[in-house]
Symmetry: C2
Subunit: 385 residues, 2 copies
């Protein structure tokens, strides 16, 4: 029964059956009236999930493409950029800026820690901070399971005046990120996360300030060009063929999101993440992310002393059909990760905890069977009817 698989990685996330089915809709002309209606309706619903009244651009690409689009449209070679990195994806954001000629200064945290807001404030208060054009921040760092305090970070950066460019790929929709209220200038998201659709679409939401900056910015760009995109979108089109089948899926998934409502979605993610974390602790496992900054979309768990993590994850996958994420780069032998975002319910959590208990127990670990599940149940029961 290989088909009955529990996909518990931080993306691609499971796709609801109705959304999967929608992708079997035949193709349409991307220059015709049906497509125009589809794109308009998608943009209306996207503004709700980004909590913005401003422009949102969709690219047929992975999230990394949305990061590259943000950098190349808002910056010029030689621009001074401050990278506030707390992990693999923060480093990637910085690297892209560097590749395209920005002068990147790094303010990195130890992995597992959130951004140091005091250090950021201090740095931005120095006289030589005046030329910092943009600050790159990760909302939710997928590689470590850490979520940043975006309200505090945004406050500090707003005071300085730099553009605030946010990679929210694995956080958006799972956790509250009110773009307009926080004054974020660019918010990047990706389809295969809490949007509950397959990979292949990336989104960039832009403040009017960012839009203004894009008109002056001189990094080379064609595929990612905001100006060309927005001009075409005025006619309800795109400059090159959009990923039509993913638009069908997106339209369907956004309707599910609109029906559930953002507050309920945030609460569901918070409850399930809390249940999962408590279960891990009940099994004597250690969470990697600093307390108070633990993500509701992905949890990183320290590999217990002596556990062969490759064999452990293989056992989970082959015997129990539960697919987990490994640690990335230098975290490969330090953590494993569970994604619990998007189309996720209480019994996905219970099942995953149960599988971890059984696998740990089989491998001679410390797991008392049922103890993790019990801890998870205690949290899940708090859910109101």
């Amino acid at each position: 029964m290989k088909e009955k698989q529990l996909l518990m990685i931080p993306g691609p996330t499971p796709v609801p059956p109705g959304v999967l089915k929608s992708m079997a809709t035949p193709m349409i002309n991307h220059r015709g009236p049906e497509y125009a209606r589809l794109q308009r309706e998608i943009l209306r619903k996207l503004r709700l999930v980004f909590q913005t009244g401003h422009e949102i651009i969709l690219f047929p690409a992975s999230g990394t493409g949305g990061m590259e689009a943000t950098i190349t449209n808002l910056l010029s070679p030689g621009d001074h950029v401050l990278s506030v990195s707390i992990g693999v994806f923060g480093d990637r954001f910085a690297r892209i800026a560097e590749v395209f000629g920005a002068k990147v200064e790094r303010l990195s945290s130890e992995w597992g820690q959130p951004a140091d807001v005091d250090a950021l404030q201090e740095r931005l208060a120095r006289p030589d901070a005046a030329d910092i054009k943009a600050v790159l921040v990760t909302h939710n760092e997928t590689s470590t399971g850490v979520v940043n305090d975006m309200e505090a970070i945004a406050g500090v950066i707003r005071e300085h005046g730099a553009l605030l460019l946010v990679d929210a790929i694995s956080g958006l929709i799972a956790m509250d990120l009110p773009m307009d209220r926080l004054g974020l200038d660019a918010v990047v998201a990706g389809s295969q996360k809490a949007f509950m659709i397959p990979p292949g679409l990336t989104f960039v939401a832009l403040s009017p300030r960012a839009l203004g900056a894009s008109k002056e910015a001189r990094m080379p760009r064609y595929y990612w060009d905001f100006g060309m995109m927005l001009k075409s979108m005025e006619k309800d089109q795109t400059p090159y063929t959009p990923a039509v089948s993913l638009y069908y899926a997106l339209d369907e998934a956004l309707s599910l999101i609109e029906a559930e409502g953002l507050p309920a979605i945030f609460a569901r993610h918070a409850l399930l993440a809390e249940a999962f974390r408590k279960a891990m602790e009940a099994l004597g496992l250690e969470l990697f992310a600093q307390e108070g900054y633990r993500s509701n979309s992905v949890t990183a768990i320290r590999i217990p002393e002596g556990l062969d993590v490759k064999a452990f994850r293989k056992l989970l996958r082959e015997k129990y059909n539960v697919v987990t994420g490994g640690g990335q780069q230098r975290l490969e032998s330090e953590i494993f990760r569970i994604g619990h975002l998007g189309f996720v319910g209480p019994f996905d959590i219970i099942s995953t905890v149960a599988a971890i208990e059984m696998a740990l127990s089989e491998m001679g670990g410390p797991a008392p069977l049922g103890q993790g599940v019990r801890a998870a149940e205690e949290i899940i029961m708090r859910k109101p009817l």
Copy 2:
């Protein structure tokens, strides 16, 4: 019955039902063994359709992204590039090179004409041609319905020694383009054309020479970086999340292509294109592309004197449910286009011709009902059992 629509544009093309269904397959871990098998199998089959034994890279993007990837990985700012443009997409290829800092020289044909091979040969024989690093060529120009003589073009460029970069987005699989035999250095394709799957994937096949050039080339790139991509592909992965649902579709569609066989696919496209062209001529309509260079994947038809083309295409779409392509840029009031590539059979052609006959007739045009269909039938009947 809006669902019974005939999509006759040069992409997105209709998707076979089994391929549509395959996209409803649940997500998998893109770092796991199922994905690795899928990617390996896709690459094996892709080599057959590109007629190459070399590397092929897939990006989650539109075809324009594949063009940008080719330019930015193979060239450096300041490189002298010769653009052999015969239409909108040739101009786009040149524009991308320019945006990224290449010194682009244009050798353009009048729209509707193929590349001028003699002029190309002459240009490349001049002493100041020694520094031409690459030549950009469009295999099949979607905007005009012209297919270039790639054998002749490749011969001339091989003699000179420049890199030969080919946009084959709307031609590959519909018409023979033996990459290795012709010595093409980069061949760009897109999923929504004769691949018979939805838009969202682009492909770049690379000769060993191109691969070598990519190691020296200094245009800025991150998302499109071949080196990063190939390194990851050695482990049957990709550097960022691949468009998994489109991979399912691709795997399925490539199996259909392998089963039919390239020679039969080329013959089918040739027969149906010929039938369609003969039908248009039987109706007294004029083909836009020069004879001898008419594409088997898309036909451009001159708008007859006095015909309101917008009303005509609207009538086709709203009354007969046949969706056609308009002219692009300055061809908007000069031509309309019919795509007949990918998942296309004889009765798609017959139906389209019949719809055009009826719509022309209703709009007071010259169309004698049935004459176009009769001409098409005469060609289609040549098909062997």
